[in-house]
């Protein structure tokens, strides 16, 4: 039994763990809403919640630039795209039809098996957990920018080219061919 105050406070979860549990529960709950909603709109909104939760997790892991990029690109861009696509392809999800297809039962079995195998394996691995203090977050963002144009320049340029080609192709695919 813990005898003195130090031993008791060592058993309590730290504040960081408490915050992590809150953010992780929110993210996991939203992800569950994504897959279990009958309404596609609710799935898209729950995806927005999951993305916000993931951004909170990046901020907890002290990758603040990534957290802000996640909110800007994923929530501001991709979720808006998905909402527009849902609204442009309406007209068939009214009614009480199930959102799942024929293989939903098999998929559930496979997914639960995969999750239990993953968790069973992850718990046993002795991960090397070093937790150095990050003093200056500004220096990380500066060196991220430097890495983009020094060591990872080719990947950066290719990513820009990919984005350009993908968006031009998306516009070509989705344009209205009736306008002549």
């Amino acid at each position: 039994m813990p005898a003195n105050l130090e031993e008791i406070t060592a058993l309590l979860p730290t504040f960081q763990q408490f915050i992590f549990v809150q953010v992780a529960l929110f993210t996991a709950l939203m992800a569950l809403f994504v897959v279990l909603s009958r309404n596609l709109f609710h799935s898209a909104l729950s995806l927005v919640g999951t993305l916000f939760g993931a951004a909170g997790l990046y901020a907890l892991l002290e990758a603040e630039f990534l957290a802000v990029s996640q909110v800007l690109v994923y929530v501001g861009g991709i979720s808006t795209l998905i909402t527009f696509a849902i609204m442009l392809t309406r007209g068939m999800m009214f009614g009480a039809t199930s959102p799942n297809n024929r293989q939903a039962g098999t998929a559930a079995i496979i997914v639960i098996t995969l999750f239990s195998v993953l968790v069973g394996f992850l718990i046993q691995v002795p991960w090397s957990q070093t937790y150095p203090e990050i003093g200056d977050g500004q220096a990380i963002i500066t060196s991220l920018g430097r890495m983009f144009v020094n060591e990872y320049l080719v990947a950066f340029e290719l990513m820009a080219l990919l984005l350009l080609v993908a968006l031009a192709g998306a516009i070509m695919l989705a344009r209205d061919h009736m306008i002549e």
């Binding site: 730290t14 992590f20 993210t27 996991a28 992800a31 569950l32 994504v34 897959v35 596609l40 799935s43 898209a44 999951t50 993305l51 993931a54 997790l57 990046y58 892991l61 990758a63 990534l66 996640q70 994923y74 861009g77 991709i78 795209l81 998905i82 696509a85 849902i86 392809t89 999800m93 199930s98 799942n100 297809n101 024929r102 293989q103 939903a104 998929a107 559930a108 997914v111 993953l118 968790v119 992850l122 718990i123 991960w127 090397s128 937790y131 990380i140 991220l144 890495m147 983009f148 990872y152 990947a155 990513m159 990919l162 984005l163 993908a166 998306a170 695919l173 989705a174 209205d176 061919h177």
Partner: protein, 103 residues
């Protein structure tokens, strides 16, 4: 300090949810939402391993995650444009009814 296992288990859960959405939903857009969930799970894994790894001064982990976000954006744009185009031609995005190529 949060043990890294907690982050990895959360990422595994998100990946399983995304995989279920990609396999078991009928609407094509719901499948794309599942793919985005899986990519987010991978990103959480990458950043957790960067933070708890041995060489935190090597920012390649964070860079990799930024590339994943950019590629997810490109893939979502093209995928949704395809779905819109299919909807214009076939008036449905129900994956059970899109079976012309099926023999």
């Amino acid at each position: 300090m949060v043990p890294i296992t907690w982050y990895l288990i959360l990422a595994a859960f998100l990946f399983s949810c995304g995989l279920y959405a990609a396999l078991a939903r009928r609407n094509a857009i719901a499948v794309l939402i599942g793919v985005e969930l899986m990519l987010n799970a991978v990103n959480i894994n990458l950043i957790a391993f960067w933070r708890y790894g041995d060489h935190i001064e090597n920012l390649a982990g964070q860079l990799f995650a930024i590339f994943v976000i950019a590629i997810a954006a490109a893939e979502a744009a093209v995928g949704l444009a395809l779905i819109i185009s299919v909807y214009r031609n076939r008036k449905t995005v129900n994956l059970d009814e899109l079976d012309i190529l099926q023999g």
